[in-house]
Symmetry: C2
Subunit: 334 residues, 2 copies
DNA sequence: CTGTTAGCGCATTCAT
DNA sequence: ATGAATGCGCTAACAG
């Protein structure tokens, strides 16, 4: 029944406590507390007596800024993004920020649309997680972000990108290079790269790192196969790579590597005896795979936490990099 | 430089378009459009000329209600919650709602605290995902939810619970029963239940279902071992269960089952030859496990979508149930 | 159908 | 240190 029973307002609080609006405001919002103790307690007591809860939207209007951290993520079901999101969530809440999360589905149009509506809330932070296609025109996106920036939001992009904003990413190149070198050192000479989408910047950065590592070992990839970023993409790519005679498959992420493993298993191809397989990100499932998947470890949650820290710092030219190093397991015969 | 460059307001828009505030408002906010075409276009053109974007907080204040859907989730890294969240996100956005996501870490105090701050935004929807401990006093939580309800929010709880609010959950009992029966029919007679936390209502509902299924097959569980909900909990429980002589392990969720698989593998115990293992939820990783994990399939994203639909319906006594049925795979010898 | 005006809940300057 | 008054950006009667 009694639904639209309006919550008590600051006015109600003031009246209940027998003080002025201003005084009530000063004690419940914090600011530079300059309220005498007796008044303080009266207000505080009155507050929980009537169950007062500040209307954050009204605060945002009056203050001209909100306590929202807007998070845009490609796909929350992907363990990679889920982990980063967890980090963002923790760090944001520690800063007293409420995080809004929207999934872009990797579609630029949705990304843009979401950014627009979110902008309406005048968020304090805007975090873009998930690498951008390198081929798509990002000018619209860039404009929108710039707009948000002007409106007072600090924006940071997680992952590789070419946007003029602060960024946080893993040291993909180093991790990839080291992993490729380790695989070469393990005696594989015909290694293929499961490169994922050709226009995904993170994927290409990792593929480049693989190449560099192989080169350092005096090798050239026997194949570089592109495809979907997901598990089915990994399956298809794996099949194509072994068809090309590969004895090692370096995937640009764990999910693809897992797909590769399952495809190889179905084909009766033994890992690591016949073909070695590696992933990237070291998601939880990597260690549990059979055989356990060699990968490149990245502290995903830390990545998320750093993202909000960097955003809060407010330096557009910041470009933080978190470490990424190989974790060698059974899938490479280690 | 020009950072705190205040975004254009409705007032600016009106001036730019040469119309009144009210007219400008009418065209940009939609409502029952009663604006003559010529005016409409003038406002619209002016809008994107100056890059006008409505201040949603201000709208919320003026309207007395927001377009926010507040989502509280136990652990976003858990594939189960991630999938449900994805469904919620999609459905909410389809309704023009922005979703805020907070992770409770399964701690009641955080849950309560988050609910309080979120309440400050006067959200339109509040979704609680993740089953509640049955032992903890939920009165505070209940009060808080009731408060939100009074303030105009529609609240729905996903999963089993004992709260007087709308709910959406999977038909765990049926799914569990059917799975247990299938395992029994496959010739297992000494089945153990990896029951998870004794005070997690979803876990107990599933365990009860297992019991019922075994009973129907004339069996009694040889062991019911409680423990953590996660993968390590599954490992420990599995070891204890096989110690008790079990030839089948029914876990209350996939993550635990996956942990069980890995523990058994390390011990050299063969699945399904020596011991059958089953999970619950049928997360993506279940089908990829080795051996492929038998589980109970639930359309997790649909669960999330239904949650917002039910919430929007606004009926506190709604109690929707989505289907759950076994998916038999190699881990049970199917 | 359009414009005026009075709030919405709160922060904050300005007097006191 | 406190209170009265003004404004934040927007919506919703209310008149015209």
């Amino acid at each position: 029944m009694a639904r639209p029973d309006a919550p008590p307002t600051l006015y109600d609080l003031a009246r209940e406590a027998g003080v002025s609006l201003a005084t009530a405001s000063r004690v419940v919002n914090g600011s530079t507390r300059k309220v005498a103790e007796p008044y303080r307690v009266r207000v505080l007591e009155a507050a929980d007596r009537i169950g007062y809860r500040a209307n954050l939207s009204a605060q945002a209007v009056a203050r001209g800024t909100s306590r929202l951290a807007a998070l845009l993520v490609s796909d929350i079901v992907d363990p990679f993004f889920a982990a980063v999101t967890a980090g963002v969530s923790r760090a944001a809440e520690a800063e007293g920020l409420l995080v809004t999360m929207s999934v872009t589905d990797r579609r630029s149009d949705r990304e843009l649309e979401l950014l627009r509506t979110i902008g309406g809330f005048r968020p304090r932070l805007v975090l873009l997680i998930g690498s951008r296609r390198t081929t798509e025109p990002s000018s619209e996106l860039e404009d929108e972000l710039r707009e948000l920036r002007r409106a007072g939001a600090d924006v940071v992009v997680v992952g590789h990108h070419r946007l003029p904003f602060a960024s946080v990413r893993a040291d993909d190149t180093t991790g990839a290079r080291e992993l490729a070198e380790a695989v070469a050192a393990a005696g594989r000479s015909r290694v293929a790269i499961l490169a994922g989408p050709a226009d995904l910047s993170t994927a290409t950065a990792r593929a480049e790192g693989f190449r560099a590592g192989l080169r350092a070992a005096g090798l050239d990839p026997v194949a570089v196969v592109h495809g979907e970023f997901g598990r089915s993409g990994g399956r298809a790519a794996a099949l194509e790579a072994v068809g090309a005679g590969a004895d090692a498959l370096l995937a640009v992420n764990d999910v693809m590597a897992l797909g590769a493993l399952s495809a190889l298993r179905e084909r009766g191809i033994r890992v690591p005896e016949q073909v070695a397989v590696t992933g990237f990100d070291d998601i939880a499932a990597a260690a549990d795979a059979v055989p356990a998947l060699s990968s490149v470890r990245i502290d995903l949650e830390a990545l998320g936490e750093r993202a909000v820290a960097v955003a809060l710092a407010g330096d557009d030219s910041a470009a933080e990099v978190v470490p990424a190093h190989p974790v060698l397991r059974a899938s490479t015969g280690h």
